[in-house]
């Protein structure tokens, strides 16, 4: 009973961003802000716990279940804790034609984990995703907003080493 109900809260800057997002939509249509606000929440907490989702529901004045059903539908929202760097690699046809399966195999071996897992040191999470709209530059993976394209085993080594520093 000592836990404050406000333990989960946006930083003041993010709260400003959230208010600005809500103001984009017509009066009474604040639910439209749900997807963008969940992105902001994920930016802050890394993943969406049920506490965070309940908090977002409160801010948007909608039912918690309305947040859960959206968060579980869209693949970008992480429903479990993730590592510092979430590597989302494209497994769809065109990237595989360009040697994606070999490169991703190398990536998994290098990190010692499979898709959906996080390294023991908590640094990397691997996530398998569908087409990222970068097919001409495949194989491709994404870490947060950054695209890494035309991947080769050597490039993967370099990226992982840089991020491990």
């Amino acid at each position: 009973m000592t836990e404050s109900p406000n333990l989960v809260a946006f930083t003041p800057e993010r709260l400003e961003t959230v208010k600005e997002i809500i103001a984009r939509y017509p009066e009474g249509r604040q639910k439209s802000a749900l997807l963008p606000v969940l992105h902001v929440a994920q930016e802050q907490w890394g993943w969406l716990s049920s506490e965070v989702m309940d908090y977002v529901a409160g801010i948007l004045d909608i039912k918690p279940v309305e947040v859960y059903e959206v968060a579980t539908f869209y693949t970008m929202y992480h429903l479990d804790p993730v590592g510092t760097h979430v590597i989302e690699y494209c497994r769809t046809g065109p990237c595989c034609l360009m040697g994606g399966e070999d490169v991703y195999g190398h990536l998994k071996k290098k990190l010692g984990i499979e898709a959906g897992e996080t390294t023991a040191d908590g640094k990397f999470t691997l996530k398998e995703v569908e087409c990222l709209a970068a097919c001409g530059w495949g194989p491709v993976f994404q870490i947060r907003e950054q695209f890494y394209m035309n991947l080769t085993n050597e490039k993967v080594d370099q990226i992982i080493e840089d991020l491990s520093k």
Binding site: R24, K31, S32, L35, L60, Y74, G93, P94, E130, C135
Partner: protein, 446 residues
Amino acid sequence: MARKILTEHINVPGIETFDVYRKQGGYTAVEKAIKTMTPEEVVEEAKKSGVRGRGGAGFPMGMKWGFLAKPEGVPRYLVCNADESEPGTFKDHHLMKCIPHLLIEGMIISSFALGANKSFIYVRGELMYVIRILEKAIAEAKAQGFLGKNILGSGYDLELVVQPGGGAYICGEETALLESLEGKRGNPRNKPPFPAVKGLYQSPTVVNNVESISNMPWIINNGGDAYAQIGIGRSTGTKLISASGHIKKPGVYEIELGVSVDEFLNSDEYCGGIRKGHYLKALVAGGSSVPILPANLITKTAAGEDRLMTYESLSDGGFATGTMLGSGGFIVFDETACIVRNTWNFSRFYHHESCGQCSPCREGTGWMEKVLHRIEHGHGSMHDIDLLVDISKKIEGNTICPLGDAAAWPVASAIRHFRDEFVWHITHPQEATQPGAVYMGEMVLG
């Protein structure tokens, strides 16, 4: 050099900024439309241009605009579909990233034409960096008086909102997109009512693709008739083609509709031909959803005529020997590609992306993936091939939205044209499951 409508200035340094875009003649179409034309006249130019929906459906944009209901006192919305997620398609990504003001200029003109005062650009969430580029460009345009209240002193107000998605292919379907924009799961709606009558927030809404809208500045500057003179027949204007796979020069190319498939595939101006030392095996011409074609039906139709990059020529022969232009996702396969493996890969995509609302799609895509998986992994039986065809037929046409068809067509067409390869996987499971093994007809084994 072919004429460029969308990409003429794309390589100008700094074109992503307002100043450089303006110096290249940007926003003159907004001035022309808002100061000298009525909304009806703008719609008329779109109709005359014959420009067709560039997201994949190919429905004439001007006609779609013409369906928009205009009840008194009810807001109307324009929503730009920038959810580009069709495997093999990355043109909108490229266009928005490189020249964001082109889309914004198109949005202002189109919103004015439709009488919308608040318009949305729904961008797939994975492209957050592109969203930031667009938002910056919108702020610039607003600071210059091209957006916001009383644009260019005309009394016309427009606000542009960029909305991120959350990662769901289905939101490229326009009613799923609207659901998503309302903060819900991306479940497509039953139609009617169509969005033109009840769309976003139950108000009349038009949803158009990025590339479609980006044609509007040129159409206003040069006239719909001039646009219609480019291309062949009902395939007017230019089209962005996303070229990927086993070619020398993957990338985004703007073509005049009507260039031959042979020229597009083999000339140095475009794909540059199949990568060195290899040869063409198959082609998906319009994104993963359209039927795959074997080498002998790509540059020539079944009747022996040159196949052209037009809506009509690519679909010549129906699904028996033709395909579709679709989104322009041009995926090229050389002889090292295994059609069974690729078909399994695509079917896994559709199973993953089915929203789950209609049972033929939810269950059917799952079964197709499972059956293809077992054929690819050496556990298939001959009966499986007919089973796949049967499942695909039971999905097609039996779902609320076209995702079901999109899942069925690649499977049905792969079996239609590459049945031998499926049979070989079943009769030679040992060989077929070797890494990199590909059926080569008489010369089996890789």
